[in-house]
Amino acid sequence: MDFALTHAYLIPLLPALAFVVILAFTRLDKKKSAAIAISMMSVSFVLALLTAGAVLTDHLVMSATYIAKAVWVTIGGIPISMGMLVDPLTAMMLFVVTTVSLLVQIYSIGYMAHDPGAGRFFAFLSLFSASMLGLVISVSFIQMYAFWELVGLCSYLLIGFYYYKDSAREAAKKAFITTRIGDFGMLLGIIACQVAFGTVDFMELRSIVPQYVWSSGTSFLTIVGILLFIGPIGKSGQFPLHVWLPDAMEGPTPVSALIHAATMVVAGVYLVGRAYFIFSQLPIVMEIIAWVGGFTAIFAASIAITQRPFKKILAYSTISQLGYMMLALGVGSLTASMFHLMTHAFFKALLFLCAGAVIEAMNDEADIFKMGGLRHRMPTTFACMTIGVLAISGIPPFAGFFSKDMILAAAREVSMPLYIIATITAFMTAFYMARLLFVAFLGDVKDDCPAEETNAFMRWPLVVLAALSVVSGAAGHFLDFGEWIHYGPYHEEAIDPVIAGVSIVLTLIAYGLAYEIYVKKRWSAMEISHRLGFIYTLSYNKYYVDEFYALVRGAFIDGLAAVCYWLDVHVVQAILDGLAHVVSLVSEILSIAQNGQVQRYVAVFYCGVIVLALYGIYYAVRVLGILGGAF
């Protein structure tokens, strides 16, 4: 089992190898590319399983980790190391990322069957997996930042995979630039860490930070914490930098499932979890994290209720669930957050892959109200989708129930308002997921519906993910997930019957409501939206956040640019022109002396030599006193 630990670096290395090989040799050959990518990923998956096994059998816990690192570069006397840090948290992430990655790649064989760019697609997927796995095993902030940027790059490349579509290009740029705003804040935080503590290594910081807080208080560290948290805000789609995530759905659906639901977007949550020894020391930052998470959760859920495109609903749902995870971190429960991260990765990947199957079957029709009755045409997908919806809504014994309940319980312990927000979000989640399921899959089959069951490559990953969505929650609960992944003293998590009961009842009410509205059509959905009027419009237009940003950009950035332009033309340019003018004037005067007569130059030069010689004698006599009274 030690083999798995000492060779954990192979887990990210193999997909990186696949990326290089595919890009260099087999890019144009779909089948070979897929075979290389998937075989490498399978080996990584097995290694990740072995690593998880090693962590369990060697009893590595959060405080006793396996670390191997080497100095990568030394910049200005500061050694920056690369390496791997394996603890239960890492092992869990490795397992989740490799599992989802492998399934999504298998699914992509079917999904990409008719796309000429499939080789490129598999190369990028491999690069992404490699970067994400590298991020997971990072030993320091710098290493994590490097891989953090790499996954951002892969996200950009894959959102813009259909680069010939204008919307895809725009979405890719938006995603890259928006997350970059967050990354910049995070970089400042990392630099501040380096300046304050002289290291960015997680394990070293872990031992330094408590002493630092004890001796110098939390004032400076709070700023560092807030700066570091800006990175996760951008990456994990937290309000107000969530705007890129819905647009990122322009990418191929496997990408949405892998990157923008299961793995990359949780990198922010993972970062906060990894650096929890900093954040948990800072009550103000914890408060901010909790409220940003809580607000994002309810905010995104309220948008998801009114959206019509299949993937947009799932995208807002993802933002909302990420908000849940942040909320859990903010209220101090690393266990709940990471547990939800794991279950969410499975059921959200499942939902997205179902969405991909449906949209592919519908010939790229994304509007759920143009679907209907798909359960007759796509029974397997319907079954999987139902499991996904039950899991995300938190119906026992599906996965979401256990993790969501843990978050609700953790929130309840710390803050009543956050608990209420989380519960309302759970209600809304159940409602919009039920709406999605009922509208798209129940009812009558539309006359011109082209849908039929997808091919085996796309079906079996769904089944596997559905199975994981069923068991992962219960397994985590009964095998004491919290014993392995926790921060601070471990305490047994028991299901609070009141909290669980309330959330189940609310979920069932939401299901009933959605059923009455969208299946029985007891109340017309149109009628309700007209009644709600303003609120509906607000939600349908995503609270005009995008428009607000456009306005700010127009007023502020363009205005600033105009001022800068004026300054550049009338001040900077004028000063430079003036300087150039003076220089040319002086040089014109000086150039008179240069008459091209070599002998004149020699004469002047010799005069200079004489002057120097005279000065030398003067210096020797007057200053050094040599030649005493000779002259």
């Binding site: 002396a593 240069q594 008459n595 007569q597 002998q599 020699v602 004469a603 010799y606």
Partner: protein, 123 residues
């Protein structure tokens, strides 16, 4: 002025006799200075390139005489002065080769070797 400090410029008859009969460092330095002055004068006044080059050679040789003379008369126990002079001769040979070649080229191009006319670099 006291008698025990001899003023260097208070030259007696004996000094002059001594100078006329004993060849010493001063003679070489004088020769070198005269050669250098002649070379400099030629460099500044000659109009053709070849005489100018010859004058430069003259100045170089003045320096060589200096070096060798100092090496001989001064208390040094190696031959650095002579060596330096040999190096200077070698470099001067190269310089003459290039200088004459340049002079030929200039004559081919311009039809003149008058340095007054070679002023196309003037400002």
């Amino acid at each position: 002025m006291t008698l025990d400090i001899l003023h260097p410029f208070s030259i007696t008859f004996m000094d002059m006799m001594n100078f006329a009969t004993h060849i010493g460092l001063a003679h070489f330095l004088l020769l070198s200075a005269v050669l250098f002055a002649i070379g400099l004068f030629g460099l500044l006044t000659k109009r053709g390139i070849i005489p100018v080059l010859m004058c430069i050679e003259l100045m170089l040789n003045a320096v060589n005489i200096n070096l060798v003379a100092f090496n001989h008369y001064m208390p040094v126990d190696d031959y650095s002065g002579e060596l330096m002079a040999i190096f200077a001769v070698a470099v001067a040979a190269c310089e003459v080769a290039i200088g004459v070649a340049l002079a030929f080229r200039i004559y081919r191009d311009r039809g003149t070797v008058n340095v007054d006319d070679l002023n196309s670099l003037k400002g």
